[in-house]
Symmetry: C2
Subunit: 196 residues, 2 copies
Amino acid sequence: MPKKSERTRQRIVEAANRLFYHQGFNQTSFTDVVEAAGVPRGNIYYYFKTKDEILEAAIQYRLDRIKQMLENWTGDYRTPIERLQRFVDILSNSADSITRFGCPMGSLNTELGKMQGPLQQQAENLFRIFESWLSDQFAELGYAGRAHELALRLMAHGQGISVIAHTHRDGAFLQREKARLHDWLDRLADGDDACA
Amino acid sequence: MPKKSERTRQRIVEAANRLFYHQGFNQTSFTDVVEAAGVPRGNIYYYFKTKDEILEAAIQYRLDRIKQMLENWTGDYRTPIERLQRFVDILSNSADSITRFGCPMGSLNTELGKMQGPLQQQAENLFRIFESWLSDQFAELGYAGRAHELALRLMAHGQGISVIAHTHRDGAFLQREKARLHDWLDRLADGDDACA
């Protein structure tokens, strides 16, 4: 695809992605995307025939960004505990967004999960790539026999904190629970799995 | 309201409540409610002018049922630890639904949380009545100084488990994590708050 077309397509995907996060997929209309992208409706049809196709592209965009972020973390942080702590830092870095809109992938999966279908399966991959990477870190930390279990548990902790913080618009709760997650990981790194 | 009207109104509310849980509020149309309730559209307008009004009634219906359930538990179970464990049992009693549709109140709050407004505040009450009751139990268990904190943490645990189980359609994960929640509570009841 020529450069100009690729940039336009990207603009549509990024605008739609933001709307899906802020409003929800079902609550977002094709017209909402047209207005947010600042691209004429006819031009959008050149790239996407339906809202589902735009969501598919938005999920792929998120997957690519997550994949890149995890590769960066793997390179930037030398030890598994540092990488795991960096993951938990997402909670505070995105505290305002989470409190206002919920977790981007948790809320999307919650919405699509009621709908089933191929889009739900694609959205599930957002969790899977994190869980796979977290599992690698827990294995390297010395918990190879239960690495996947710990990865899922850490994801569940993050998701639960996000749901409560979002429901109550409570950023202070999010920060307190995040601090406890850091402690939980530090204990695991010290070989203390009493609370794991 | 005459008995017949009250029964019809209730039928609409219960049908709508089920649809909102299974499909999501935004994904449910007024027509969906008409068909599910088996009540002519004109008759529904007698009770509810908009979908928002139906949601308001559905939330009130849930609040009333939760309030009744908590009163029953308070009466049926004599100790705070038994009551807390009964709360955690919701996870396995509703395992199939949670795996298929997510937590009913978590998913509703996640959806409405992006929309803000009075409906979001009403939906938040679903969490608040549980948290208030859980807080009473933790206080009675001997943790009066941190009862509310523990209540929120237990809610967060339940929500996180529900999101992961729903995302991955993983009922086995839900059961394993529920078992760990029971252990966590037992330890608290024994005065061991190392993992609290």
